[in-house]
Symmetry: C2
Subunit: 348 residues, 2 copies
């Protein structure tokens, strides 16, 4: 009896999605259980135009490795996202590779012959029609959010009054986690993405944040903003100091383990050294899902971050009341509230 | 010229330790450069009694894999730390294995025959003399800190006044990052460890926090607190909701990549499924460094978290002013200010 539980140990402290806990005592639902109960109406379909399918070379045992990326919708990072579709449609990303794996930081991929005196091939010529973005575009003015958030604030206040009754008395009445972020006056979710804001002044701006699995655009020193030729994803603790300093363009929604478990590079900053270039993982192709034949087109949904279930899920992440926990925190880091995403059968 | 820089792109946003940036424009020092300038007097030697050497089976290419763990000093987790030395000295950890690798969460190791109906061997009998801890011990009352922190607060206030002049005018005057944590009223460092506190009331308590690379003790449902037979380390975004719910006992200070890059388990919660038991990494031995012959005994130092250099380093992590950055955040998550640790030649 105890046997089963010990292995389940850290276990019950789940990341989404939750698995059934057969030996679990009765108690309030876990975040995963809350998500599992979401009505179909709260799941939002991701358009195929926002999905990229990145195919890596098979692993050492010959297993296929596919990574699916969700691109960000407007107005975030729009110019860069448009460039990424341009690169993908020009098949420019085909036969590039993962050149850098830095522990607790990033996995980065691009043209291995770029800036490489030992290059065995030609540096790739960039495709036509790339946009050039200004640094101001790392943030967005979103007046729409102002009204929406005023509404949600009111709703949250009324919810908090109810929750106070559920809270164990020894829990201090922390301010809401939304305003307890080290990097921004306030953090929140918008249309399925984690974001931060400068606050609710008339000139407020918003920006997406560097959580685990988010994808950003490598760049040169300022004022360069990067084209999208060089991309990275976060494989460690959220490097939020990069927020508003680099463009974020999307996130990995399937196959993250194919990147996060790659061998770390021994060179500076995790780049593979010359004596380990064989560790570079070839990227065979990157395709926009809408360009794929219907039968190969993956389909995904995310849980609306504006719905009731997400609010309950976020609250449960901030106040773990499921049986494993003895001391709910009273808050959660925005990057510790991953937006639930699920694969569904293609509808077409 | 641009060539070199593009690859250096994300680069300059370093995790510690910093590498020299040969193509970097002039500018204020990076966090890594600040640490590199620390006087010898600010580096603190870690006693060999607090170091564990964990030897994994060689990798597929035959390369040796060694992981060095620093155990926490009193009063944090003392009973569990004492148990871990007991397990190590009984050679109980020899020939156990890594049984769970859950992406963006934890790597967990223990007796693979524990709770395994397909076990090919006997479940190991626990050694004599293990301590049993109460849940109250997840936190510590540290009156000493109260005075020390009052002093540091005063010092920080005077430093902030100076820094206000350096800050770009458009940066909002955020409250200090110490009090902008989603999980606790305040976070800080103590004797080289990241910690959180309930605040400065007369009954204040402190506890260590779950940052990347920290090591915790797997446990059963409450009121079990775990013995130390089952350990895990964090390989993703800090799961701070586990703070005060599980005992933390130390952190990995060398060889983290041997754990973080292991293949993810396909079973529930990242446990290796029966059809992939061959992916379990054998742990050949775990030894307390002080028990090793002098010539095999590793030696490490950490940068005093009470010294001037650490204060400057933490400030630079919170306000990146080195050339790559255009928008300093004004704060940093405590887990994004990793305590600098370095290997040194053994002094004996």
């Amino acid at each position: 009896m105890k046997k089963h539980c010990l292995l389940a140990a850290v276990a019950v402290a789940l990341t989404f999605p939750a698995a059934a806990q057969d030996a679990e005592p009765e108690g309030p639902p876990s975040p995963g259980q809350i998500v599992a109960g979401a009505p179909a109406s709260e799941w939002v379909s991701i358009t195929a135009e926002d999905l990229l399918v990145m195919t890596l070379a098979p692993d050492a045992e010959g297993n296929a490795r596919q990574v699916v990326i969700q691109l960000m919708p407007a107005p975030f990072s729009q110019g860069w996202v448009s460039n990424i579709r341009t690169f993908a449609r020009a098949e420019w990303y085909d036969n590039i590779s993962v050149n850098r794996v830095q522990d607790n930081y990033v996995v980065q991929w691009g043209d291995p012959n770029y800036d490489n005196p030992e290059a065995t091939g030609e540096t790739k010529v960039l495709p036509e029609g790339l946009k050039v973005m200004e640094e101001e575009e790392y943030t967005s003015s979103l007046f729409e959010w102002q009204d929406r958030n005023a509404e949600r604030d009111a709703e949250r206040q009324s919810r908090k009054a109810t929750e106070a009754v559920l809270q164990p008395v020894e829990t201090e009445p922390y301010p809401a986690w939304h305003s307890r972020d080290a990097y921004a006056p306030r953090v929140d979710f918008y249309s399925g993405w984690p974001a931060a804001t400068s606050g609710y002044s008339w000139n407020q701006v918003w920006w997406p944040v560097h959580c685990y699995g988010m994808i950003g655009v490598g760049r040169n020193y300022s004022p360069d903003t990067g084209s999208g030729a060089e991309l990275y994803t976060v494989i460690g603790h959220a490097p939020r100091h990069l927020d508003r300093n680099i463009a974020l363009v999307g996130r990995i929604i399937e196959g993250m383990e194919h990147l996060s478990s790659l061998p770390r590079g021994k060179g500076e900053l995790g780049f593979y050294r010359e004596d380990e270039f064989d560790k570079r993982t070839p990227i065979l192709s990157v395709r926009v899902a809408s360009d794929l034949p219907a039968e190969n087109r993956p389909a995904f949904e995310y849980l609306s971050t504006e719905g009731e279930t997400f609010a309950k899920y976020a609250d449960a992440r901030a106040n773990r009341r499921d049986p494993f926990f003895i001391a709910p925190a009273g808050g959660a880091d925005i990057c510790n509230i991953p937006v639930p995403v699920r694969r569904v059968s293609a509808s077409e």
